[in-house]
């Protein structure tokens, strides 16, 4: 406590609040633009922070990180363009809500869920950094495989009512993730001699394709049949704010998603997209209205946003406690810490205790500022839905093309995005769910690498999955989920 009070005074200095606000606004703008990801924004802003005091510089980068993670949801909800990979899960229900006239409500749920997830993650960083880091260190290949299998069972959950098509979509997603270099031996597979395919398919091309480009195809099709409204979506009066019933529905989902996100964030190599999709699947499994998922469920938006923002604070756990950056952003942040003479690791808590306290306070303050800025910006963001589709969609397609090109400077990725756009359009037309495809694509490499590394470690023995407690628990849970889904599916068929 003797460190916290001076830290609050330090963080509340106008310069620190100003750079955090600037960072949040930059982050939200970058996060909302497809192809411009948060690591890029943090990397570009890094040299600016060299001219600032250590706390101000780090606080600005934290602002960009948090703002960017939230910002992806704005474009996902309003125009079906997930600005970040994690926002793909938000688009599944967010855009459907916009089409129903509930854009404002969806944006509010996304904002409050992002705030809740972020706040719980910050508090976990402050209070449980050491035990969470120790638990995260126990996650090896066998645990990664078992966690991946547990998460893959969500494909079954998300396919209920349409099981065969959902399973095909999930298997196809994993298959797509195997294209390119083998993650273990570096050999090429399924590249058909194309050098451009050796890096595999980029996730950004996949999500922009199956959401935004597929939507543009559907719009073109509807225009020909004169089924499209000549003006933009309207914001219904009932869809403006969150009612008490909405809070009762969404708050438990936010609170349940946040701890899962905190854990995923603390494990190096996982990240916010995995957290968002896993929490989306969990929320559907526990929902009283699972049939609404994918068609405009507030719970779906709440789970995805709380889950992906809950990663923000906990990704700093392995960095601050052990000096291990868990993802690209924390790797860049490690550089920022070191430039300012701060060496992350156990010694940081003794040698620079005052800075660590100020950093913790800055994390909390940036969450509160994000809530304030997001709330002030809501009336502005929601105006996007008033633009007629015939004006909005040419802009959206141009933005997607530019964003995907900017992310890799590759013309090939643009063709890939176009192909995924046709795939998404076809899936929609023939009733294949998109969520299993995306979950399969994200989790495929984790499961495959986990399995193969485990077998190498155990010299080919499958015992490794039952002798390691965390792996065993995850596999048992996966078996329980599969049984549960099968029973529910069977009941559904009978009824």
């Amino acid at each position: 406590m003797e460190l916290i009070l001076p830290a609050i005074g330090e963080v509340m200095q106008p310069i620190n609040l100003a750079v955090m606000t600037i960072g949040l606004i930059i982050g939200m703008a970058i996060g909302a633009i497809p192809g411009l990801n948060v690591p890029l924004a943090v990397a570009i802003s890094l040299p600016i922070t060299f001219h600032l005091a250590p706390l101000a510089g780090i606080a600005m980068l934290v602002g960009i990180y948090k703002g960017g993670t939230y910002g992806g949801s704005i474009s996902a909800i309003l125009i079906n363009v997930p600005g970040t990979p994690a926002a793909g899960a938000t688009a599944l229900d967010g855009y459907a809500l916009t089409q129903q006239g509930h854009a404002s409500k969806a944006l509010r749920v996304a904002l409050y869920s992002s705030f809740t997830g972020g706040l719980i993650s910050d508090l976990s960083l402050i209070m449980f950094a050491i035990p969470v880091a120790m638990l995260a260190l126990k996650i090896g290949p066998a645990e990664n495989f078992a966690l991946g299998i547990l998460a893959l069972t969500l494909i079954g959950v998300l396919s209920e009512g349409n099981m065969v098509k959902g399973l095909i979509a999930g298997a196809f997603g994993i298959l797509l993730s195997t294209v390119g270099l083998d993650p273990l031996n570096g050999e090429t597979r399924l590249t058909f001699g194309l050098l451009d395919l050796s890096g595999g398919f980029q996730f950004i091309s996949l999500i922009i394709g199956v959401f935004a480009i597929a939507e543009a195809f559907a719009l073109a099709h509807a225009t020909a049949g004169r089924l499209v409204a000549s003006v933009g979506q309207r914001v219904s009066a009932a869809g403006k704010g969150m009612s008490a019933a909405d809070w009762r529905l969404c708050l438990p989902v936010m609170l349940r998603a946040a701890p899962v996100g905190v854990f995923i964030g603390a494990v190096p190599g996982l990240g916010s997209a995995i957290s968002a999709f896993i929490n989306y699947g969990i929320a559907r499994n526990f929902s009283r209205e699972p049939e609404k998922f994918g068609k405009g469920s507030l719970e779906g938006v709440a789970a995805a946003e709380s889950g992906n923002n809950a990663v923000c604070g906990s990704t700093f756990i392995p960095l601050l406690t052990l000096g291990i950056p868990g993802d690209t952003i924390t790797a860049i942040m490690l550089g920022a810490f070191m430039v300012h003479g701060l060496i992350p690791g156990p010694a940081l808590f003794t040698a620079n205790a005052d800075f660590v306290a100020a950093f913790f306070v800055a994390m909390l303050v940036s969450s509160i500022l994000m809530l304030a800025i997001g709330r002030l910006g809501l009336p502005l963001f929601v105006q996007a839905v008033r633009i007629p589709n015939k004006v909005l969609f040419p802009i959206v397609v141009a933005l997607c093309m530019t964003g995907v090109y900017a992310s890799s400077s590759s013309y090939f990725d643009l063709y890939v995005m176009l192909g995924f756009g046709l795939l998404g359009y076809g899936m929609k037309r023939f009733g294949f769910p998109v969520a299993p495809l995306l979950i399969g694509f994200i989790l495929g490499p984790i499961v495959e690498v986990g399995l193969r590394q485990s077998l190498i470690i155990s010299r080919g023995s499958l015992e490794i999955f039952v002798t390691r407690p965390i792996a065993l628990i995850c596999l048992l849970l996966a078996a329980m989920v599969v049984t549960w889904v099968a029973i529910r599916q069977n009941r559904g068929i009978k009824s």
């Binding site: 411009l36 890029l40 570009i44 065969v164 098509k165 399973l167 095909i168 298997a171 196809f172 994993i174 298959l175 195997t178 083998d182 273990l184 031996n185 050999e187 090429t188 597979r189 399924l190 590249t191 480009i213 543009a216 195809f217 719009l219 073109a220 099709h221 225009t223 020909a224 049949g225 499209v228 000549s230 015939k390 004006v391 969609f393 040419p394 802009i395 397609v397 141009a398 093309m401 530019t402 090109y405 900017a406 400077s409 013309y411 643009l414 063709y415 176009l418 756009g421 359009y425 037309r429 023939f430 009733g431 495929g444 495959e448 399995l451 193969r452 077998l455 190498i456 010299r459 080919g460």
Partner: protein, 149 residues
Amino acid sequence: MKRPGEEAGLAAILLAASLVLAAITPFQVTGGEIWGIGSATLPIALALAIALLAAWLLVDALRNPRPAEGPRQRAWPVLVMTVGLAVYIAALPWLGFYLSTVLLVGGLARLFGEGRILIILVLALAVPAVLLVFFERFMIIFLPAAAWN
């Protein structure tokens, strides 16, 4: 808007494609196996799983043919848009970002039903300019230049 037989046709295509993929994957993969699992194991297993599920879908579609859900719609706008986007990507290295995107935005606005020439012109000229300035000036990410530059 499925037509009777469309779903069965799709399932048959999926079944054939996944079987072909399972058959050619060993020739598309280099590298050996370690402890029974190699680079080709997962892709082949997945292709076979998709084939099995597609067969299930095919049988279901043949047993329970579903009626059309609405009037048949013309597919030409999707085809026009696909060809247009492919031409746009191919034109980027030649015409450059600005000129290509002017044509793309103008064409799409017309395809999506915008009939007012002034609106199309403003959109086509302003959107690429804003994107160009934002990406090149603010983000320092260079977009394709025209071949003559």
